[in-house]
């Protein structure tokens, strides 16, 4: 008798679960670890002002977010790099759309050195030689006689892809480059390793020195700062993107409009990025 009652209670509860799930469906935002803090801040501020909306933000890497967009498991993908051609074609195959790209912020990509390191500036060519493994000792770029330790990101990262395209010009990273799960991990590794070098978004720089970067022999070496990223004189700037499968509508459109408004853009400066305009 009791068993039957318990069993029917369970069945009833199980039937109600899908009803609940349909009622409160969050907007999923997934992707770039560089952007995860920014996206969370945007989501929190927006949800505070609009209690009926639920936004769910996760990281994992730009590649993870875009793969989720293609697999249909997220509404919005955040990415610190533009979508690759084969990602675009997979999206077109599956959803008959090339995807919607919305730049939402600008970021300066910093190169970090340990505070003790005397090197103050590096050129694109030197960075490329360092990260492809051609230069292995700090003395070749004006530092002490010590072996370089390369720190980078996993290949799912948009930061990895951006650095590879813009600085390495498509060449492969050296096999000895250690891969760390996020910008914060790169910063912490370089902060603890006197001979380390790493790269990552400007918003995460603490406890290390960001080196001045020179695009080529003719240009001046520019250190990353609010002004130099904003006016474009710092050579390693990139856009941060939102990607969607279809033009934003309903709640997503309201959220994106809010992000691109002065209110949302001022939040990106708080976090350490720069407005899109």
């Amino acid at each position: 008798m009791n068993m039957k009652r318990i069993l029917s209670a369970f069945v009833l509860a199980a039937l109600l679960v899908p009803a609940f799930a349909l009622a409160v469906r969050p907007i999923t935002v997934k992707g770039s670890d560089t952007m995860v803090i920014l996206a969370q801040r945007w989501a929190e501020k927006y949800m505070d002002a609009n209690p009926g909306v639920t936004l769910q933000v996760t990281g994992g890497g730009s590649g993870v977010g875009l793969a989720a967009l293609i697999n249909g498991t997220t509404d919005v993908a955040t990415s610190s790099r533009p979508m690759k051609p084969d990602e675009k074609s997979k999206l077109r195959d599956r959803y008959q759309t090339p995807g919607i790209e919305i730049p939402v912020a600008r970021d300066g990509l910093s190169v970090y050195l340990n505070e003790q390191n005397p090197v103050r500036e590096l050129s694109f060519q030197q960075l490329s030689d360092i990260y492809t493994g051609k230069i292995t000792n700090w003395k070749d770029v004006g530092g002490p006689d010590a072996r370089l330790t390369l720190y980078g990101r996993e290949n799912s990262s948009g930061t990895y892809a951006f650095f590879k395209d813009v600085v390495l010009l498509g060449k492969d990273y050296a096999p000895s480059c250690q891969t760390l799960p996020g910008t914060a991990a790169v910063v912490s590794a370089v902060a603890q390793d006197g001979n380390g070098i790493g790269y990552g978004g400007a918003a995460y720089g603490k406890g290390i020195r960001e080196v001045a970067v020179r695009k080529d022999a003719q240009s001046p070496a520019v250190a990353p700062s609010a002004t130099t990223v904003q006016d474009g004189t710092y050579p390693l700037t990139r856009y941060l993107f939102f990607y969607m499968r279809k033009k934003p509508d309903g709640e997503i459109k309201k959220w994106v409009d809010w992000i691109l408004s002065p209110a949302g853009q001022s939040i990106s400066t708080e976090v350490g990025y720069f407005p899109v305009k």
């Binding site: 994992g60 890497g61 590649g63 993870v64 793969a67 293609i70 697999n71 084969d86 990602e87 997979k90 330790t149 390369l150 996993e154 290949n155 799912s156 990895y160 892809a161 498509g170 492969d172 990273y173 096999p175 000895s176 480059c177 250690q178 891969t179 760390l180 799960p181 590794a189 603890q192 390793d193």
Partner: protein, 322 residues
């Protein structure tokens, strides 16, 4: 009605009446056995489904031409580079195999002597009160989640090792290996200690009676007698080290490089899958390669366990015949 003679109120029903089906007892019994059997089958079916799924997702490597153009079995062992995200993707498994091997070897070099000697101490020499402290303490080490061990290795252990040795990079095979050893020691210790305690006292008494010291007895008589169990423990610890993911992901630096030094960063199979699986587009050559690696890992650990079983069986037979 019961066959027990009763008086009015204090009639006690002892057993259900003797009818054709025993009052439903046989049926109930059969139902219970069916449920138990179902649970056992469920476990087997789960394992089978995992194997099928992994090999199905890795199948394009074996049969699809388009995938083979990018990632083929020959390609896995002909290039020394693992660069799956690139203009010219390279799927060399050699650095990953070497990395797994290095980290496992370091872990075993530390874990096996420490665990076995600790087991010998605990079972042969320690007074009961000390044994009751050591055994639970080591087993508590088994309860530490691997992500906590990995975190400890990343932040604390790496700095210790680097300050001590000043060799190589901070995150390297040695760091990951020592942390892995911490994860394997409880397994090896528990199984070895049980095996040593299972050796009959007559062995020890005979040896002591012939004039051997306690240590000579433990090393030359008891340990060889427990060899079957101790080997099983070591192989279980080995299987754990090969499959462990979180510790190597955090502590080894994940650089897919080929080098002989234990103080260089390494990238293992398990860490590769964990780090890259989130990024791949389902169905791509990279995706199939990651499942191939998963299948390889699974096969490796399966073979270790099979060897363990055969080895233990052979030793047991030898001891029985003695």
């Amino acid at each position: 009605m019961s066959s027990v003679a009763t008086t009015g109120e204090d009639r006690i029903r002892v057993l259900p009446p003797i009818t054709k089906t025993g009052g439903g007892r046989v049926g109930r019994e059969r139902a219970i056995v069916a449920v138990l059997g179902f649970c056992a089958v469920l476990a087997m079916v789960g394992l089978l489904l995992i194997i099928l799924f992994v090999f199905r997702e890795a199948l394009p490597i074996f049969i699809d031409r388009a995938t083979q153009a990018e990632a083929s079995i020959r390609g896995f062992f002909s290039t020394p580079f693992w660069q799956p995200v690139s203009d010219t993707p390279k799927y060399g498994l050699t650095p990953l195999l070497l990395g797994t091997f290095k980290v496992t070897m370091v872990a075993m070099i530390f874990a096996v002597p420490i665990a076995i000697l600790a087991a010998i101490f605990t079972s042969e020499f320690a007074p009961v009160r000390i044994r009751e402290i050591i055994k639970p303490a080591v087993e508590m080490l088994a309860g530490v989640p691997s992500v906590v061990l990995g975190f400890f290795a990343l932040i604390v252990l790496a700095t210790w090792i680097h300050t001590l040795t000043h060799q190589g990079t901070r995150l390297n095979a040695m760091n990951a290996g020592v942390a892995l050893a911490l994860a394997s020691i409880p397994t090896i210790f528990s199984v070895s200690e049980d095996a040593l305690r299972a050796v009959p006292n007559s062995f020890r008494e005979a040896s002591l009676a012939l004039g051997a010291s306690k240590w000579q007895t433990a090393w030359h008589v008891t340990l060889p007698a427990a060899a079957a169990g101790v080997s099983a423990g070591v192989l279980l610890g080995l299987a754990r080290a090969v499959g462990e993911t979180m510790i190597v992901l955090m502590a080894s630096g994940n650089a897919a490089m080929i080098s002989g030094s234990a103080f260089d960063s390494v990238r293992t199979f398990s860490a590769t899958i964990a780090a890259e699986m989130g990024e791949v587009v389902v169905g791509s050559a990279h995706y199939s390669t990651l499942f191939f690696i998963g299948g390889l890992l699974f096969t490796l650990i399966f073979m270790i366990n099979v060897c363990a079983g055969l080895f233990v069986e052979r030793l047991r037979r030898k001891l029985r015949s003695n």
